[in-house]
């Protein structure tokens, strides 16, 4: 080693004793068998001349193109499936312009004369039975359309229980999608052999502030793991594993490490910033207070009520188990859906996750660092 006089002293030599012990631990040793096998593989590839290497590269490139093409086709189909949902409620004209009649992806009410829809409804009802029920908000300019042509809720298959909400409830949410009203894990008529069950989906739809679609995978019974949450929030990827005593994962490129200490306190770091939380039990639920990068946070989850600060001081009311909706302080509609796999988590982990996902500084501070998620959904 070249000894540079300006180099700092190594922790191994003069650091704290506990760290010295760690840093002096025996280094990982290469197993002899592995060493030999790697050498054999290297020498084998060294023998291969340029021709075979070029051929291999071409073959690899071709297979990569094939795989990428396949993945893209699959991804596009899947993305179309998801992207159609927010478009449903956007405009009555869109409903008229792009009726995907009879296609496998038809999920919305189709504007057609009544006589035409009867057969189509019957045809599509079996397809609907295999999917979640999607109900659409009635368009704002509904009066412009003739009464029989007004888009109505998609026909639900008899086997699917409709969410316990009346149509008047949807009228309060003209801007965003009302996916929130549909329980993510609605009972389905499909047989268990057809398709593996999908993870519960945690959805946040908060007009112009935050949009989240996260998968919550139940991992109870797999060691310390309780659940894994992954997906995107405002186009920022998030992947966090919830374990007994620890939340660990990433938001974008930033590391999340939050230790859950007992049932009431948690601290750690997010994106290199220290965070801490304290949970208190209230008469009807829980109150979480804490510090996140860039803001302090408060989140209340009472029986039938969810509210968070900063962002949505007005309480969102529960319309069915795990489904909260209402209007936030600044007049924006918001809905939050918590799947059963998320609701069964311990309160501290659950509320800390919600605080991370939901609390959002006022838009006037959007340019101010730090910013965990993108400013706009």
């Amino acid at each position: 080693m070249k000894k540079n006089v300006t180099d700092p002293i190594r922790l191994k030599d003069e650091g704290p004793e506990a760290q010295q012990v760690l840093l002096r631990a025996a280094p990982p040793e290469m197993p002899l068998g592995l060493k030999e096998s790697v050498r054999a593989r290297v020498e084998g590839r060294m023998q291969g001349g340029n021709t075979s290497r070029t051929f291999m590269r071409l073959a690899f490139a071709a297979s990569l193109v094939l795989v990428a093409g396949g993945a893209m086709a699959y991804g596009v189909a899947k993305a179309r499936h998801f992207l159609q949902e927010p478009q449903n409620a956007a405009s009555p004209l869109r409903l008229q312009q792009a009726p995907r009649i009879g296609s496998g992806t038809t999920q919305q009410a189709i504007v057609l004369p009544h006589s035409n829809t009867v057969g189509l409804q019957a045809e599509s009802s079996t397809k609907h039975a295999r999917r979640k029920t999607h109900l659409n908000a009635p368009p704002q300019s509904v009066a412009m359309l003739q009464p029989p042509r007004v888009a109505t809720a998609a026909p639900a298959a008899p086997s699917i229980e409709s969410p316990p909400m009346g149509l008047h409830d949807f009228r309060e949410f003209p801007e965003g999608k009302v996916e929130a009203m549909v329980p993510a894990e609605a009972p389905s008529s499909r047989s268990p052999h057809e398709e593996p069950p999908r993870p519960g989906r945690l959805l946040v739809n908060w007009a112009s502030r935050r949009g989240a679609s996260l998968d919550v995978v139940d991992m109870y019974g797999q060691g310390d793991a309780l659940a894994r949450v992954f997906g995107t929030i405002n186009r920022t990827p998030l992947s966090i594993e919830i374990r007994k005593g620890l939340l660990v994962g990433k938001i974008g490129d930033e590391v999340v490490n939050v230790w859950l200490k007992g049932k009431e306190q948690a601290d750690g770091s997010i994106a290199g910033y220290d965070v801490d939380f304290k949970l208190s039990a209230t008469q009807n639920g829980y109150l979480l207070r804490g510090n996140l990068p860039g803001h302090t946070a408060r989140l209340e989850l009472h029986k039938g009520i969810l509210r968070w600060y900063p962002g949505c001081e007005n309480a969102l009311a529960a319309t069915s188990p795990g489904v909260y909706q209402g209007t936030c302080t600044e007049g924006k509609n918001a809905s939050v859906v918590l799947p059963p796999s998320f609701r069964k988590l311990p309160p501290l982990a659950r509320l800390v996750m919600l605080a991370i996902i939901l609390t959002d500084r006022d838009p006037v501070f959007r340019d101010r660092e730090p910013q965990i998620f993108n400013a706009t959904p």
């Binding site: 080693m1 070249k2 000894k3 540079n4 300006t6 180099d7 700092p8 190594r10 922790l11 191994k12 704290p16 506990a18 760290q19 012990v21 760690l22 840093l23 002096r24 631990a25 025996a26 280094p27 990982p28 040793e29 290469m30 592995l34 060493k35 096998s37 790697v38 050498r39 593989r41 290297v42 590839r45 060294m46 993945a71 699959y74 991804g75 899947k78 999908r198 998968d215 995978v217 310390d224 992954f230 997906g231 990827p237 992947s239 007994k244 005593g245 620890l246 660990v248 590391v255 490490n257 230790w259 200490k261 007992g262 750690g268 770091s269 290199g272």
Partner: protein, 202 residues
């Protein structure tokens, strides 16, 4: 730049310019010696950078293939080990990138990925000391840039200048990253001790 300690540590003494030129000339024996001396370094670096054993073996293979193919371009301006570290770090970064791309693809496709864990498995873990296990755990929680500087300086014992050469950045940048890396290491170590003291399990 000289990395004498690293080269002295390997069996058979340092690989000098003569051996390198013999390798360039196609001497198979010289090549084997070069491999035998330096494969453990690459393996150790891969493991300390958080790769699984399987991935580390792949990285070793790629590194030595690149060494073999590019040995003709090695001018000897820096020590061979520094050059090797540079190639190895690039391959380790590539392996990490590849892993994250796979993970992203798996997430996009809504599939759970069977990831090759960097966990050495129960048998190897039992063999490794508790300290080594704790060290691996803490390193696993560090950010990649800080981790690489920390590993190269504190564990591989390269000088800041050598690290700058390996990572392709300035020596002052290395020192700054090292300072932050030490702070992060210290914080993670303390947090871990606290959780262990309270009977929690990471």
């Amino acid at each position: 730049m000289n990395v004498a300690v690293r080269e002295d540590q390997v069996e058979g003494g340092p690989v000098d310019a003569d051996w390198i030129s013999r390798c360039k000339a196609g001497d198979k024996l010289a090549w084997r010696r070069l491999y035998d001396q330096h494969a453990p370094i690459v393996y150790r670096l891969g493991r300390r950078m958080g790769l699984s054993e399987e991935k580390t073996a792949d990285v070793c293979q790629e590194v030595f293939l690149r060494v073999y193919r590019n040995l003709g371009h090695f001018r000897g301006d820096s020590a061979f080990a520094t050059w090797l570290y540079r190639i190895a770090m690039n391959e380790v970064s590539r392996a990490h990138r590849e892993g994250s791309i796979r993970k992203t693809l798996a997430t996009l496709l809504g599939r759970e990925m069977q990831e090759a864990s960097s966990d050495p498995g129960p048998e190897r873990r039992a063999q490794a000391s508790e300290a080594a296990h704790v060290l691996e755990e803490i390193l696993g929680r560090m950010k990649p840039k800080k981790r690489s500087v920390f590993v190269l300086y504190e564990l591989e014992e390269l000088s800041t200048e050598e690290i700058a050469n390996v990572l392709g950045c300035g020596a002052e940048t290395v020192k700054s990253r090292l300072r932050h890396a030490r702070a992060e290491f210290d914080r993670l170590h303390k947090q871990r001790s606290l959780v262990v003291m309270q009977g929690g399990k990471l």
